[in-house]
Subunit: 199 residues, 4 copies
DNA sequence: AATGAATGAGGTTTCATTCAT
DNA sequence: TATGAATGAAACCTCATTCAT
């Protein structure tokens, strides 16, 4: 919708706190009062805009859970999908972090994404452990949040902040680091070798 | 100083955006105008309060660079120091993340801390590589920011957010994860050519 | 407009410096914020109110430039028009002098009025000199500002200050003084070569 | 005194309204509170500074009342004295006009100067009329304030405002204009000629 | 639904003045 | 007398929100 699109434009341009309802309606070419026919207030419209983005991240993180094929290759594919979604929505994703610090609803959304992300990683680890690809002494309840923090926060400084990295090398190093942390062996390697110090 | 202490109290209680200069002077039992004898505005007083905290983090991260002794033990000590400083200043540290999104000065401070933290980790990795404790093919320019992201963001969700972890186990898992990522062998282990989980 | 009228009322009653935006909105029966929908600040609204008055003066000073008829009679008519406009807008005219000392825009307006006034007088003198009603050795570049100063400042003390003069006698003395300064002879008098006090 | 001098400096530099007590004590190198040991408030210190200036003008206007000698020459001398004092104290004199619009005491002082100036001119006219140098039909009660307005306001625009005139020519034209207004004949001319149309 | 003028609470900031030392 | 920190009244201005049209 016109106002929703305008809101996202203004938020991305000015940030949440500098954006005023006025700026949004001006951007949309609408009248001041029209805004309140659609949204309760600035928070409300932000929550809606934000949910578009968080949904995209959820998709990137949740999908592709095929249980067959090469584990490392699939992990890498998931990581690449995550990096791409993060980069494409960097501005809004930065804003979600910003607004989460003051809006309980956005904060809850943000936590829910992380929760799901962690959950998905935990499940993967458990599956790998069952298949003997990851040692049983890996504490998934701690390692999963650590890996999610590592990846999401690295993306934050890369795509929202001003750190610059080379795409391929960064993506590969991320996956490589996951592999080292988990001692994740490719199924082939498991077959061939005994097991698992990270290479 | 009275107003500085009050400012920190109010910021930690109400957050940056809900805090007003009025609240601060009320908390300090001072008059409205007194505030402006010491600070230019709310931003200014926040920057000062924040710099106290960022300085504490800097100390935790920078100090203790003895080059002898057990590498893993010293890494663990540094991590513990970091966790303790983060926990002790959790509220303010959360605020720094919050305000960094809108105040360029706080943002620059925040970036500088990260830069120094990464730098310190890079240096450690380089030293370990020279001593043969870490393989040369570890890309410190990417692994250092990844490790810093992992640790700082995990602390954020733990101490500022509402995730709960058991202190000892979390601390040990963090160090353990660093060790796995780097393939860091204790000097002894290097000598004895024996694997083992870090203490 | 409601606020503009209220602003003028308050300015005339309290002066520029004692008037607050609050007083103006209270006088208008409007809300604080309404003011800023129309004006940027107190200065701005004053400039608008002032421009109404300066425009009135400009009209009084510029108009009626018929080139025929009795010179003295027409001079007197112009002077009367000036006195009337000054008296009718005395309060505001005093304020313009007051605010001109601190607001560059009002100051520029004030100067422009004087410039136009002087210019108009200069032109008249030149015309009279061409027609032989005023001697060529009159230095219009100096005499015009002197006459304008005389008239406007006399009005200031009369209508804004507390000096009191009898209307007819003052008006006639002013015109009479202009005539003496310029040695302005009525066309008839020039023809008849007879002196006479201006009507 | 140190504060008085500083006050004048600050007033002349910043104007009355922009000048703060703070600026004055800073200029004087004194402490905030010291000011109130000497003056009641900003108005008070301005009144004192102003009275120095108004006294100078009073002197220029009142003195030199010798009743003998050439009338026009003495008039010119008085006018020159007035111009010189005005020019020398232009900044403060402008401020007096400014502050007179809001401070009753300064306003009264300003009026008193004008009253004395007018009075002095009236007396001169009366004396000249007795001596036959000025016609009896000149209405001194109106012509005196007109001449004072002319001279003082011309000086205002010249020395305080931004109008520029050549000193000698302006001074002579002023006196010349007085002479025309009054039909003032030099005693010599009176003796030689019959009477008095201004040359 | 759309409009946009009007609202007024809420914040910011200044500065003349006081007062304990 | 000198100091300068503290005071607090009084102004300023913004902006989310309402409401009559």
């Amino acid at each position: 919708m016109k106002l929703l699109k305008a809101a996202r434009t203004v938020f991305e341009r000015d940030g949440y706190f500098n954006a005023s309802v006025d700026d949004i309606v001006k951007e949309a070419g609408a009248a001041r009062g029209s805004f309140y026919g659609y949204f309760e207030d600035k928070r409300h419209v932000f929550r809606i805009v934000a949910s578009e983005v968080t949904e995209a991240v959820r998709q990137a993180v949740i999908s592709g859970s095929a249980t067959t094929g090469d584990a490392v290759a699939r992990l890498h594919a998931t990581n690449l999908r995550y990096l791409e979604v993060y980069r494409a929505n960097a501005a809004m994703f930065g804003l979600v972090e910003q607004v989460a610090t003051i809006d309980p609803v956005v904060s809850a959304d943000r936590m829910e994404i992380r929760r799901q992300h962690i959950s998905r990683v935990s499940d993967s680890i458990a599956r790998w452990q069952e298949r003997g690809l990851v040692k049983k002494d890996i504490d998934a309840d701690l390692v999963a949040p650590l890996l999610v923090s590592m990846t999401s926060n690295f993306c934050y400084w890369w795509f929202v902040g001003s750190e610059t990295y080379e795409w391929d090398r960064a993506a590969e190093t991320i996956t490589d680091t996951w592999v080292r942390v988990l001692g994740l062996a490719s199924p082939e390697r498991v077959r061939r070798k005994r097991g698992g110090s990270p290479d």
